[in-house]
Structure formats: C-alpha cells, structure tokens
Amino acid sequence: MTARPTSLTLGDRLRGGFHLAACAAVFVFLIAPMLVVVPLSFNAEPFFTFTEGMLSLDPDAYSLRWYRNVIQDGEWRHALANSLLIGLAATALATALGVLAALGLTSSSMPCRTLVTGLLISPMVTPIIISAAGMFFFYSSLGLGQTHVSLILAHAVLGTPFVVISVTATLAGFDRNLARAAASLGAGPWVVFRRIQLPLIAPGVISGALFAFAVSFDEVVTVLFLGGLAQRTVPRQMWTGVREQISPEILAVATFLVGFALLLLGAVEWLRRRGGGPAQGNT
C-alpha cells in the first residue's frame, strides 16, 4: 500500500469547509431557540424581548427576579411537588415493570417474543393524544379521573418502554452461564438476580429509569386529560402560564428545565461510558 498524501487538495478543503458550515447551520437551527430562552429569563423587565440595556450588557438590565418569583410562588411550588411526586412514583413503577419484562423477554423459554416486545413498546409509538384519550375514558370509568394515581399509572405506561429497551440491550450481552454458574453454586433465583444480574445490568436499569423520569417530567398531554387542579405539574403550569399570564417566569422555569434535561443526559452518557457495556465472559 502506498502512504496517504498528507496535504489536502483545494477541493477537499472546500468540501470539508462546506460540511462544517452545514453542520453548524443545523446545530444553530436546533439549539438557538432554546439558547435564546436562557438570557431572556434574566430580563429585568417583564418582556419577552431583549431590552436595550441587555444588548449593551448593562448589569442592571439583568436580574434574578423571575427566578425569585417562581420560587416564592405557591402555584409553581405546588406544580414542582406534583411533578416530583408523579415522576418519582411513575419511574419506580416503570423501572420495576420494565426490568421484569426485560428479564422475561430475554429468557430462552419466552414464547411470542416479538409480539410481546411490540406490545410493550407500543406506548412509545402510539400518538400520545390517543393514549391519553383512551386512558381518560378508562380511568374515569374506574373512578380514578383527576387523581394522582391515574397520572402515575399513565406516566409509568409511557416510561416503561424506555426501561424495557435499555435493559434488554444490556441483557443481550449478558452471559447466560453467569446465572447458571450462580445456580450451580447454590443460589436461588432471587439471589441470582440480586447478586449477579442486577449489579451487571445496573447501568442499563439506571439509564432506563432516567429516561422514564424525563418522560414523566415534561409530559403535558396526559396531565391535561387526566389531571385536575390538584394534579398540576410543572409543564401543565407552564401551559397555563403561556395562555393566561404571559410573564418571563415561564422563561425562568424553561431555563431550569433545560438545565435539568442536560443534567439527565450527562448522567446517561456517563453511565454508558462507564460500562453500560454488558458483562464480558472471557478475555
């Protein structure tokens, strides 16, 4: 083989430059709307636009007043408490169910594997408005309309597919002989799960759980259908805010949510790098 020429031709450079520019454009298009929100949330005036002072970087044009308002506002606090309660409960439920489902789906004696997987994943692809409407009628007929329970169940349904997918992926590389070895050493099914399987699939479980939580945390459609005043979550409160009292408080909350999402994403990525990789049998 001949060595590669080290110097690039003009054409190569042009193509490279164009490629970069295209990427940058897509990036700006996707990210800019979100980034605009961040500085605006520090606006000292009750406007949704950049003021003269902000543009000239006058420190007095910036303030934390909207953040203060949000923190002190009883409605926002109530919404955050609801979001956390519903999110955490739904995540716990989705994680438990998703892990169980993934374990069953990867067992060698599973019949109709593809069909069952499809059913479990379906909440991810069904239009949310349809699921929400269906759940509305279903839970109402059970007398669960406008309760936290119905929202927790609904969000658990939406979050479970993420857990199933991420745990199934982790289990796919799981050496079946590890479980067999543990059994031959005297471990019952629970001990095998607790001591061998769970520690090895933990990264997959945690990243699935984070996704499930994120789904619940910014979900608004089912809340509109199933929730009443007592079940207002943060996104629901924002929805009201946008329609009724246009105030940069919403921008402060949005900034907070963006930061939170970045944090979750970072956590998932960190888990993945740190060995979401399935257990290796031999070297």
Partner: protein, 367 residues
Amino acid sequence: MADTDVELHVEFRGVSKSYDGQTLVVRDLDLDVRKGELFTLLGPSGSGKTTSLMMLAGFEAPTAGDILIDGSSVRETPPRKRGIGVVFQNYALFPHMTVGRNLSFPLEIRGVSEERQAEKVRRALEVVRLEGLQNRRPDELSGGQQQRVAIARALVSEPRLVLMDEPLGALDRRLREEMQLEIRRIQHDLGVTVVYVTHDQQEAMAMSSRVAVFHRGRIQQVADPETLYEEPEREFVARFIGDNNILRGQVTAVSGGTCVAETPGGPVKAVPVRPFRPGEPTALAIRPERVVLSSRRGLANEFEARIEEVLFIGDHLRMRLDLCGNRNFIVKIPNTVGHGAVLKGDRVRLGWAQMDCRALPDERAAV
C-alpha cells in the same frame, strides 16, 4: 475385573434430548460414571456433549429417560440442590466481584461463618496455586489464572461431583498440557468425581480414567484410553482416536477369531470386532505406526506399493502410499538410526500383522 463392587456416582438411563421437538441431539444415552473417576465425554463439535452435561447439572431437562445421582433420580432436583460444581467453557467468573468474592459466594449462600469462609477460600486458592490473588478482579487475570479460579470456585464448597465443559479450550498448547496435569492432580488429591467434556482426543487420552466417545448424539464406545486406542469397536472411534488407515472391502471368509476381507488391492487378513457374515461390507483399520517396511517375510498381510510422498515430521517420517483402494494410506517410521533412506517414487514392500488389522462394520452406509 470386579465390576460389581465399584460404586456408581452418576447414571444416565435411556436419556434423550430434543430442543425443537423434532431432532434428537442426544439419543438414548446410557452411561455409568464411577465414584472418584475422571470420566470424559469426547466427540466432535455438535455431538451433544454440552447438552448431556447441562442435563446432568440440571440446566436442561431430558426429553426422555432419567438421570440418577448416587442411585436416586434427580428429575425433580433443581440445579442449586444437586451439589454439583460446574466449570464452564468460558469460565463464567462473576466480573463484578474479586477472586475472593467469587470463591466465597457459594459459602456465603450456605451461611458459612466469615472466618471459615476466609479459611476455605485460602485453601481453595492453595489447591489451584493462586495464593495471594484474592483481591484481583477476573479481568486482571490471565486466561490460565481465570481457568484455575473457575476450578477453585467449583470446588470450594466441596462437592463430590464436578463437571467441566472444555475448560482448556481457550488456552495455548503448553498451558493446556500443564493444566491437564493440574486437573488430574487436583481430582486425584481430593478424590472427587469429574465428568469432563472435550473435543480434543489427545486431552481425553491423557487425562481420563474412561472415555465415552460421542457421535451425533449417540455413544459409540465407552472404554479406558488404551482400550479405545487398541480396540476400537466402531469405525467412527477408529478414525477419531489417533490416526488409522481405513481399507474398505467385503468379508469373504470367517473362521474362529479371524476373517479375510477382499479389498481392491487383494485379500487382507484381519481380526473381526464382531461376528461377520461372508459378503458383509467392512472397514479395516490399521494404525500407521504398525505398518512395517519389510524385506523379512512372515507378516500376515504383505503388499508392494509406490511411495507417493514423504514428509519429515521430526521424530518420525510420514509416507503416503496408494494401497488397496486407499490413496491416502499413511505409514509412520520412527526416526531412529538406520531407518533407511526412503524416497518419493520408490517401490517398497510393506506389511502388518493380522492382529494389528481390525475389521469393523462399515459405517459409510449407516450415515
């Protein structure tokens, strides 16, 4: 032999196994494993060795038949209650635990006290000569060390029966030979029964008290290594264990313990492994090292042939001839002083004794 007073440890009684409900990957298996022996299941890839071992360990259920341990059926006994140590082909060490935790795992489950655990782990590591590696993780060990940890883990709770599925498959030749001796030593010192799986016939010969040769889910022959080599009863065994020259022919005459078979190169005198009827097809097996180049007469079978090829192997010369319809007839001559210069193209006289030529049932038709 006083076969009556050997104690049986494991018995397979008419065991068959099918995964898909159609093809039997193990067929009608009958096996007796004696207490304290190293019993090997030997066979080519896909012959059903692992399946048999997994049924014994309890990870697969037989489709038909029964397995007995110490005389009683284990059909209803789950793996964890069978008290069998298992060494898996890929070791199956728990990657998230140190060597020490891997070894103490079965002890913890049995509620052994911490001090006794430490003591037993230390002793198990001593047996496999890995003292002081407690705190390493499996991925910080070499293949040979991982392999020994896997053996130690299978032995640490002192089972009387240990199963090993091709435990040396991933090791290089030198390490493999070392480990063969090591496993023999451990098995002998502890007096445990070992059921060992391999597809390597040399390994089986070197280690085993007895060997069961598998082919397509069926047992071909069960015997000690020497008998397998000297007295194969099936064509498959003759071909699988060591080298054998196979000559095809038809039995023409049978008398007492001898027979004559007609081959494309003329009549050959042989020892039949079972009574043949005249006219039956047969496969004659002759070991390459039992063929002598002779000017001296007196061998039951003597032929003349041209040497097609000579290979210098080191400790012996390997000649290929075209003889009695076998174009790949191999003769080995030890590399001793005066083995004589043989050259490609020479015509030589050669022969073999009647007792070195076994007449086996021809299995070509039976495949």
